[in-house]
Amino acid sequence: MAALGSPLRTLRGLLRELRHASGRAGRPYRRTPAYRHVVATFRAHRVTSEKLCRAQQELHFQAATYLCLLRSVREHAALHQEYHGKGERSPEEIAGLVGFRLPQQPGGKG
């Protein structure tokens, strides 16, 4: 089994990511299906104890994987917004970058 660290830490990280993942301010994140499912699963299978049996380890791995997914998606989206989110410049802006102005052609290209 992969080295996963503390299950409690995974759980905390996961719940934190779920809080970030709430797109709309309306519904409290604790009432989302995902939050409920994660908490219920950890509780039901006692995945926070010190020594885990095989089934618990598998659940911990699943939780750690989901945590990685949520965290990476959030980080990737943030990077995308910062570096790739502004779209293209208009032709006027591009011309302006090198000191030109686009010609006026009121009648079209003719």
Binding site: A21, E58, F61, H76, Y83
Partner: protein, 247 residues
């Protein structure tokens, strides 16, 4: 094309005849080919619903990896059957990242040996096969018996899980690293690190460029994590009997 605005308030899941469905307000989510979006696992449905509920003003499809994987499983746009998927997956072994070694620079060759040898050895022991590694441009010579062992092993997975496995292999460019993940021998972070070993080596030497390196790293982690989670959720004994997963 302009991004699609979030057009729904509430996301919920419900259980239909075929499995679990996603509701966007009163509308049922459909696949790109207009089929009803149904998944065999409740946990998977909840995770997909979370993707949709995470969208703020616009829907960023490029962040919704689980939704994409389910759509692929439901629509099967490449029209491949189980054996074609398996053969495509196993074919990757011939160009498996962890088997392809450099001779220079010496530091990178050493890094590859230290980081990749253990996972190759693990796979050889776990599956009782010979794999090895090679510095030849032709790559390693994988015995036919090794390939057949992996073909047999992958045949034990259902079609949904196989879509996920093939997806992870394509992302990591390695069958061995993917099996390491599926078998829970390594974490997603570790698998991605091992897949990107040469990039990481170059980054340590020359520095990191956030808008390229970190961007790629996060994207690969996200896709790999999604694929792995997808495989495990579709292979759980509670899900496996579901008729959606019958070939």
């Amino acid at each position: 094309p302009p991004e699609r605005k979030r057009f729904y308030q509430n996301v919920s899941i419900s259980q239909g005849e075929g499995g679990f469905e996603i509701n966007l307000d009163h509308r049922k989510l459909k696949t790109p080919q207009a089929k009803l979006f149904t998944v065999p696992s409740e946990a998977l449905a909840i995770a997909v619903a979370t993707e949709w509920d995470s969208q703020k003003d616009t829907i960023k499809f490029y962040t919704m990896h689980l939704t994409t994987l389910c759509n692929t499983a439901l629509d099967n746009p490449t029209q491949r059957n189980k054996m074609q998927l398996i053969r495509a997956a196993v074919k990757f072994l011939e160009t498996d990242t962890v088997c392809y070694r450099v001779e220079e620079p010496a530091a990178l060759a050493e890094l590859q040996k230290n980081e990749w040898d253990p996972v190759v050895t693990w796979a050889e022991k776990r599956y009782n096969v010979a794999i090895g590694s090679s510095t030849s441009i032709l790559g390693p010579n994988i015995p036919a018996s090794t390939k057949e062992t992996f073909v047999s092993h992958l045949a034990s997975y259902n079609m949904w899980a196989l879509q996920g496995i093939e997806y992870v292999i394509t992302q990591l460019k390695s069958l061995i690293l993917s099996m390491g993940l599926i078998d829970r021998h390594i974490t997603v972070e570790k698998a991605v690190l091992l897949s990107r070993l040469e990039e990481e080596y170059q980054i340590q030497r020359w520095g990191s460029v956030e808008w390229a390196h970190d961007y790629d790293l996060c994207e690969l982690r996200a896709r790999t994590a999604a694929g792995t989670l997808f495989v495990h959720l579709c292979s759980e004994s509670s899900t496996v009997k579901h008729k959606l997963l019958q070939d």
